[in-house]
């Protein structure tokens, strides 16, 4: 068998990738909610991956059986970046409920830092703000492209920041300025994670949120380095899991896969 699957069951989206001879042949992204288990099954089916050897990763990685093994998102992400952006030295991933900065080399993890116990600096923070501002995620780029100064959002806590944004709106501040402030806030948290491991160029960013150019721009400003976005940034972790699956099936050495 020469096809292998990787299944990334995230808190927001479930991603599946199939590779053949080290090349990606198919990927699928589905919402994880309301039923993560079902989302996993559907993703595999839509990807034509039923019956293929699969390695799972992501928040819900223990949910899907049978599998060849499971790995953490960090390890899978590094493996995926090794394929889609082989020169990258640092990966910044803003996921649905965590964000991480991973130092990588040839598809392997050197060091990493991730947010802890706090939704500030994650996709969830943006989701909440998008709702309060009545600006859907796919309109972020349009709104944030207005040439206005960001309005600082100073609260760290998502709940307090939400009230702060409501307050700013009630003072009739333009949503574009608030949105830019919100992006700044998220990206500055991610940047502080980056300082823990050191931002070594070239830097790539991944995860669902960096599909927005406004997020990427703001991230690059906060990190103080140019960042690039690989194609399908949301699927890199699933691709990495598929690669690890192939490696494992070939009897190659794999990190401890439980």
């Amino acid at each position: 068998m020469s096809r292998f699957a990787g299944l990334d069951i995230g808190s927001t989206a479930t991603k599946c990738a199939v590779i053949e001879d080290g090349r990606v042949v198919m990927t699928v992204v589905l919402p994880s909610m309301p039923d993560m288990r079902l989302a996993a099954e559907n993703a595999l089916r839509e990807c034509g991956a039923e019956g293929l050897p699969v390695i799972t990763t992501g928040y819900g990685r223990a949910l899907h059986e049978p599998r060849l093994g499971q790995v953490s998102e960090i390890t899978a992400l590094a493996a995926g970046v090794g394929l889609v952006a082989p020169d990258a030295a640092t990966v910044v991933d803003i996921g649905g409920q965590d964000s991480k900065v991973v130092r990588v080399e040839a598809g392997r993890v050197l060091d990493f830092a991730m947010n802890d116990r706090c939704a500030a600096g994650t996709g969830r923070f943006l989701e909440v703000m998008s709702r309060v501002l009545h600006v859907p995620f796919d309109q972020f780029d349009d709104v944030a492209s207005e040439d206005v100064e960001p309005l600082p959002v100073t609260s760290t806590c998502t709940v307090f920041a939400e009230s702060e944004v409501v307050g700013l709106l009630s003072l009739r501040h333009p949503p574009a300025r608030i949105l830019k402030g919100v992006l700044q806030s998220v990206c500055s948290r991610v940047a502080s994670l980056g300082r823990q491991v050191g931002m070594v160029a070239p830097v790539v960013c991944t995860g669902g949120t960096v599909q927005s150019r406004a997020v990427v721009r703001s991230l690059s400003l906060a990190l103080g380095v140019p960042v690039s976005v690989p194609p399908s940034p949301q699927r890199v972790t699933a691709i990495g899991a598929a690669l690890l699956c192939a490696r494992r099936a070939a009897g190659g050495q794999l990190p401890n896969v439980g």
């Binding site: 390890t75 993890v109 990493f112 401890n256 439980g258």
Partner: protein, 399 residues
């Protein structure tokens, strides 16, 4: 996984110690509450029975009783940011709650600031509550080994404390008596060091998860004969395991060292996680704090002064890097875990700098995990796992 036979004996030993404390106090032996970093040899020489509130707090936490006790203390207005051992202990004092049956109140308390400033206030509060004398030992903070001036300064205080304890206790603290206790401490510390050193074997027959538990007697019973006999047996058992090639974790694949106190609320889960990933926790800065080598029974005062000033928490970050880096080399570890302990600021300050320096010096991979030694509200096993699993994978991939 083959369990240590000593696990059973540990329970009996601790139970007997508790019974002895209670019985002793009933037949007129005075009781001294001491910190883990106090020169307990002094109180033993004066005929006191020592009791360790920190140790007691750890036991409460391991038995799942910490939260209720901590909340009682917080209700008095003490901040949740204070050391959880303090909050658990005061909560136990107020409520009289303890897994040990009954607490024996102190006749004196002895505290040293060699481990932190928190204990200084904690023991003052305790002395006031029980209306007993407070003896305080000031040990100068140092980047490296204590200077001769430091030693002389601490020694003077010890002489003064000896006089006070002689007055309050049932025996006079003479050099000879103190020397005999110091000799017993020295034997036990030596045996404990032997036990811990055996984790340098591949695979490790004993890990820090075992050590976190089996350290109780060296903390709270050193200076006694029972302590020596406990560690002699433990040493023999671990030696047997080592020569039989018994591994503490099944099929050991990676070895790491640990900085800071154990995470009691998640102790069992963490132990299991390490086992599942075949990672041996081969050494740590916490249990090895009781492996002091240079105790000298022939000059007990100066020797105690030197040893109790030269304590890991009484030194800065550069020293921590040195200790951990030696440990990584000696125990053949490929990685290190720094537990950033919300309770213990003295232990946790500067760990991100330590991480960078340590990786630069040894090439070992490191991870910082955030938790608390006793307060379950500050411990999330999911979060710990989220950090540790990729870290373990890094070790596997590099190994």
């Amino acid at each position: 996984m083959i369990k240590l036979r000593a696990n059973k004996r540990l329970q009996t030993t601790i139970r007997n110690q508790v019974l002895w404390t209670r019985l002793g106090s009933r037949i007129g032996r005075p009781v001294a509450w001491v910190t883990s970093g106090s020169p307990v040899e002094m109180v033993l020489a004066a005929g006191f029975i020592p009791f360790y509130p920190e140790n007691h707090a750890a036991i409460c936490s391991a038995r799942g009783m910490a939260l209720g006790m901590a909340e009682q203390t917080e209700a008095l207005g003490y901040s949740r940011d204070l050391c959880s051992y303090f909050r658990v202990d005061v909560g136990s004092q107020i409520s009289g709650n303890t897994p040990l049956g009954r607490l024996v109140p102190p006749d004196v308390v002895l505290v040293s600031n060699n481990i932190c400033g928190t204990v200084q206030n904690w023991f003052r509060v305790t002395a006031e509550r029980f209306n007993v004398p407070l003896l305080f030992l000031d040990t100068p903070f140092n980047d490296a080994a204590p200077t001769e001036n430091d030693v002389a300064y601490v020694r003077d205080q010890l002489v003064h404390i000896a006089a006070e304890l002689s007055r309050l206790g049932i025996r006079t603290v003479t050099e000879k008596r103190l020397g005999a206790v110091v000799e017993r401490s020295r034997s036990a510390l030596g045996l404990w060091a032997e036990v811990l050193d055996m984790a340098a074997e591949h695979p490790a027959p004993f890990t820090s998860f075992d050590a976190f538990v089996h350290m109780a007697p060296i903390v709270s019973m050193r200076g006694t004969r029972r302590c020596i006999s406990y560690y002699r047996q433990l040493r023999d058992e671990v030696k047997q395991r080592a020569s039989a090639g018994v591994s503490s974790v099944p099929d050991e694949r990676a070895r790491v060292v640990w900085d800071n106190i154990a995470i009691w609320p998640a102790h069992k889960q963490l132990k299991k996680l390490f086992e599942n990933y075949h990672v041996s926790l081969v050494a740590d800065t916490y249990t090895s704090a009781w492996t002091i080598e240079n105790l000298d029974p022939s000059d007990p005062f100066s020797s105690l002064a030197r040893v109790y000033t030269d304590i890991i928490l009484n030194h800065g970050a550069a020293h921590r890097v040195k200790v951990l880096s030696n440990m990584i080399k000696k125990f053949g570890a490929g990685g290190f875990v720094l537990h950033s302990n919300r309770s213990c600021k003295r232990y946790s300050l500067g760990q991100f700098g330590v991480k960078t320096a340590l990786t630069a010096e040894t090439g070992a991979a490191g991870v910082v995990i955030e938790a608390d030694m006793a307060d379950p509200r500050s411990v999330s096993f999911d979060n710990l796992q989220q950090r540790l699993v990729p870290f373990f994978e890094v070790l596997g991939a590099n190994g």
